[in-house]
């Protein structure tokens, strides 16, 4: 593996006081903006980003420079810049870390972008769940304004640019760019058809670029170190680094930054510390509800846009949730569909109804009511949703279903044929019993049981009445002695 010279996006996390502009400036902060405004033309800034090979880190992987050029060349009275800090994927917390830990890097990146395309106003959208990030960004903007890095005639040049922070109101779909535009305009977060794409017609019909937090945080580095330096990191088509939030069944959950091209195995087993309790690795899902699961035969693929796509995954937002052999893939698919169904805005039928039906089928399978025909039916539904949904939410909501069906079909078959959950997760398919040898008769389970299925005296082994048991699993959850046994 090529040795990274220093982390790029996470360079200042934990190293500087995020509430101090001076601290950011002391490690070279705002030097790129100063240099750009005094020594470089706006075209040169755009050229540098273009040549660096930077691609959008929000999911699509679209070349950033090309997006900016569309916007720069689009006719419009005014141009806008948006930082997408929605980070709605469950399991993703890397953008939050950057917004909270290095807010000035985002402000500087956006100012550079605004200079490159000729925008006068920017917005930062911060997810509903991240109040601290919104506070830190507002502080950073105020401080930058006071020091002349934002506002009228920045650093005495003719360039003027300012930023407003908009706190999300709780809608996952607002991470989709056209829904985000609707949100900022004060409407409900429904996406619209594209084209026209935001670089042509965005906020209030004006040319707008939307990049995510990680993308913006890369921009000052590119201007500082140069496009060639940046382009030397990574692989042929994926330049620079990628930040991941590694979570799930790993020993060391957290944020890691690796050069593009790093083997996936290294991210999970070296940086993530491997699997908890040294259980067996089963799969990793990247990019949350819109991503696909990658089973162990893909552990050696390099981290980059193309190889992930080829494997049926998605580099996406950078969330990485690792699953071990104690995770049921049918349950995982059902979990993601529940999420997508709840977050579907309801505007288009394929997504609104498709997620509902997929969730219904998957829920029945996890209850032991599924049939083999259901599997084919789901594949058919997924094809329609992927082709006909209005935005990425519906189009990609099918990925967890399709990828688990592809790589873990035998697990679905165990659910529908034998009515068994091999991973012992789907509760209606389980049987709970008390091991009389280990039970201490503490009555924790008896108190927890809502249906009175557990009987027994204090300090005597308890018994579960299988007729009454509703398989809620609470007895198993509260037993401190591991005396409640589960089988399928």
């Amino acid at each position: 593996m090529s040795k990274i010279e220093f982390p790029l996006v996470t360079r200042n996390l934990g190293a500087i006081d995020p509430e101090s502009l001076e601290a950011y400036a002391a490690v070279g902060g705002y030097a790129s903006l100063k240099r750009a405004l005094t020594e470089m033309t706006s075209e040169a800034v755009l050229e540098a980003v273009d040549k660096s090979g930077l691609r959008g880190r929000g999911g699509g992987g679209f070349p950033t420079g090309r997006k900016w050029r569309f916007c720069r060349e689009a006719p419009g009275e005014q141009k806008f810049i948006i930082c997408n800090g929605s980070e709605g994927d469950p399991g993703a917390f890397l953008d939050r870390a950057v917004m909270e830990g290095d807010p000035h890097a985002i402000v500087e990146g956006m100012a550079l972008g605004a200079y490159a395309i000729g925008a006068g106003q920017g917005f930062i959208y911060v997810g509903h769940e991240y109040p601290l990030a919104a506070t830190r960004l507002r502080q950073a903007i105020t401080a930058a304004r006071e020091q002349g890095f934002l506002g009228e005639k920045i650093l005495g040049t003719p360039f003027s640019f300012d930023i407003q922070v908009r706190r999300g109101a709780g809608a996952y779909v607002c991470g989709e760019e056209t829904a985000l535009i609707n949100f900022i305009q004060g409407n409900i977060g429904e996406p619209r058809n594209r084209p026209p794409y935001p670089p042509q017609k965005g906020l209030w019909g004006q040319p707008t670029i939307i990049n995510n937090v990680e993308t913006w945080a890369n921009v000052p580095v590119i201007i500082n170190k140069g496009a060639e330096w940046f382009a030397a990191i990574g692989t042929k088509d994926s330049k620079g680094t990628k930040v991941f939030s590694v979570a799930g069944r790993v020993k060391k959950p957290g944020i890691v930054e690796v050069p593009m091209g790093t083997p996936l195995r290294q991210v999970i087993f070296d940086l993530g510390g491997g699997i908890k309790k040294d259980r067996e690795f089963k799969a990793v899902i990247t990019s949350g509800p819109g991503g696909g699961v990658l089973p162990k035969q893909f552990l050696d693929i390099p981290v980059e846009f193309e190889s992930f796509q080829a494997a049926g995954g998605n580099l996406g937002s950078g969330s990485m949730v690792v699953m071990d052999d104690g995770c049921c893939m049918v349950d995982v698919a059902r979990y993601f569909l529940e999420f997508s169904h709840e977050e579907s805005c309801g505007k288009c039928t394929p997504c609104r109804e498709g997620t509902k039906q997929l969730l219904k089928i998957l829920t029945e399978i996890t209850k032991g009511n599924g049939t083999e025909e259901d599997l084919g039916l789901m594949e058919e539904l997924c094809a329609t949703m992927a082709a006909a949904s209005l935005c990425g939410l519906g189009q990609s909501a099918v990925n967890p279903v399709l990828s688990t069906l592809k790589y873990f079909r035998e697990e679905y078959e165990a659910h529908v044929r034998e009515k068994k959950c091999p991973a012992l997760v789907c509760r209606p398919l389980l049987k709970y019993t008390v091991d009389p040898e280990t039970c201490t008769g503490c009555l924790a389970c008896l108190r927890e049981c809502q249906v009175g299925a557990i009987t027994g005296d204090v300090e005597e082994p308890q018994e579960i009445d299988q007729e009454l048991c509703v398989k809620c699993g609470m007895c198993h959850a509260v037993c401190k002695f591991d005396a409640v046994k589960v089988e399928s």
Partner: protein, 154 residues
């Protein structure tokens, strides 16, 4: 009912254009813990936005509530990692102990419950939040103890 003075303070922070609708509603939600009906009417008039549009926005986003929320807002994280670490059971445990479903408030007005998609504290899964306090690696049996510290003594 809304205190007109406090509403005025909120409105004075904004230009009074349609795009201010969501930030204004967020400030009212923060101030009152919900969106009072009379305030919505005033906001519609002041921003020159149809009342239907105000309601459309107020009911679309999960961050808004048309009913008063509890003194303590309990959030159960439903993120992927929490799910893999028993988040469903945790949520069921909280529902049982509070006696309310997500989106509801206890009759004494002390607690309201919400399930959130991910609070980004996956390293501590499963996570439960009460107001701005986060609790990690919460077992079903730990819920009562946590809630007790917030319950007002009778």
């Amino acid at each position: 009912m809304t205190d007109p003075e406090r509403l005025e303070t909120i409105m004075s922070r904004y230009e009074g254009v349609a795009a201010d609708l969501i930030p204004v509603l967020q400030d009212i939600q923060d101030d009152c813990n919900y969106l009072p009906k009379d305030a919505l009417k005033i906001v519609a008039g002041r921003l020159n936005v149809p009342l239907t549009q105000v309601y459309s926005v107020a009911t679309f986003y999960k961050g808004f509530s048309l009913e008063p929320r509890g003194v303590h807002h309990v959030q159960v994280c439903r993120g992927t990692t929490c799910h893999l670490h028993g988040g469903t059971r945790l949520q069921e445990g909280v529902i049982r102990r509070l006696g309310i479903e997500p989106g509801q408030t206890t009759p004494d007005g002390q607690f309201s419950l919400e399930q959130v998609k991910c609070v980004g504290k996956c390293g501590a899964a499963p996570v439960l939040a009460v107001g701005e306090d986060y609790f990690g690696e919460v077992g079903v049996d730990g819920v009562t103890k946590i809630l007790r510290t917030y319950r007002k003594p009778k």
